[in-house]
Amino acid sequence: MSGLPFDPEVIRALAALLKETGLTEIEVAEKEGRIRVARQPAAPASLTVAAPAAATSSAADPAPAGVPTSPIEDAANHPGAVKSPMVGVVYLAPEPGAAPFVALGQEVEAGQTLLLIEAMKTFNQIKAPKTGRLARILVQSGTPVEYGEPLMILE
């Protein structure tokens, strides 16, 4: 009945065979010719993120699943993390030799100065965003920090 150069029933039978067996491809060759029936596997191939390895800057790499997150990432995600609002150099005391602004374990109030960040020769006071206990100090005096870097943790 069909004007096709092949028997569609053969195709149907082959397709059913593929489904039944879970194969993805069947090719049948006869004197009259050759038929090949193929299908995509049900699940698409997973895409691997093909980013080239970066030799350094490990802090920037997203942690693969199953690997414990780094302490830096834990700190940044802590609800009491005080993050740097600017790029500059941290100072924990008002001047060299003086006592630091705050000590570990100290109860600090919202608005209290925690440390200084020096940027472009200007010293900026970084204040506690909320009241809490100073649980961790994550930076050292004289070291540079970037925007968003966790400085201290208040609990």
């Binding site: 895409l47 691997t48 993120v49 093909a50 980013a51 080239p52 970066a54 350094t56 800057s57 920037a60 790499d61 997203p62 600017m86 790029v87 500059g88 150099v89 940027a119 472009m120 540079p144 970037e146 925007y147 968003g148 870097e149």
Partner: protein, 447 residues
Amino acid sequence: MFQKILIANRGEVALRVQRACRELGIPSVAVHSTADAAAMHVRLADESVCIGPPPARESYLNTAAILSAATITGADAIHPGYGFLSENAEFAEMVEAHGLTFIGPSPAHIRMMGDKIEAKRVMAAHGVPLVPGSTEALTDAAKARKLASELGYPVLIKAAAGGGGRGMQVARNAGELDERLVLARAEALAGFGNDAVYLEKYLDRPRHIELQILADEEGRVVHLGERDCSLQRRHQKLLEEAGSPALTPAERDRLGARVTAALGKIGYRNAGTLEFLYQDGEFAFIEMNTRLQVEHPVSEMITGIDVVREQIRIAAGQKLGYGQADIRFTGHAIECRVNAENPVSFAPSPGRVAAYHPPGGLGVRVDSALYAGSVVTPYYDSLVAKLIVHAPERTEAIARLAPAIDELAVIGIETTLPLFHRIAESADFRAGRYNVHWLERFVAGTA
């Protein structure tokens, strides 16, 4: 030579500058907003500093953060890329005040060419042909009307502090002039903080042809040939060619000689591009860009000269080491600016790029920071890739372009690639038969 270069930009140009630094063996610092923390140039960087939240004003335009990043990393030079702070004379001055080298022209020249009226005055004084128009800011409606009728309508009202196709109004007759002047001034004030405007004769079917130049500390100036950037939509270039299908080598040489002489006289240094309108065989200077341009790759392909590397070498005090006679123009190059936009509506299409495959082969170059898994954010401009082809003749370049467009796969966001496919197939484009209005008509033809 510099010990460390801070790259004050993002996306494909940050990667471009980083590559030049790498070739020169110079460590570089990538600065980035929080939105770009996983950007390719940050991943490949020797050092990176997060300088702010996503908005450009708080990150890539944040002078204090960028200078601070340079200080804490010990960078001794800053490359500003294009856009952002690249033509900000105050930023260039601050870089120098901090004892760093700004990789680009002097703040004085940035300022000179940033004032479009002053730029024209200086160029005219040195023999560069202009679009007929006013030589000073218009303050008086009566003077404007008189000048406009002398020039002949239609006229174009432009913001002195504008540029890049922004801040322009057309007045087709005297009746429109007054209200358009008021509108233009208001827009100039809002857009650029300066309401000075000037008039130019409106050319109805020009080509946009620009000349790339390089100049070293010793006053040697060369040009890298012209680029035809007539294919624009809303004054934004979408496709560029080196050389122009409309120019002969003799015309290029003549224009180049005039331009390099003028720049030599004003003592310009580093890279720059002079933009012209070309109609009826006449060139008319409109403005100069004192920075690297997006479309610099096509000039690189036909000359074999790495513009970014030359910028770095020049800024470090090195001589060009070659003259105009040493520069050979070989073949023809075409660049397509692939944007993350719907190819018909041009609606922005930010999102995660699930899969990415660039084309390759002889004479095929892709400058892009995309990778499978990267995210195109809505905070910055929509350019995601530049596809550049180079071949011995223009017809071969077009034959190389079409398959490359089709092979470039960006899955997960919409891009303007289908539009470039149609452009590459169009008879007008293949014949080089277009002007600055062509692309908008071509796009509207399918709407």
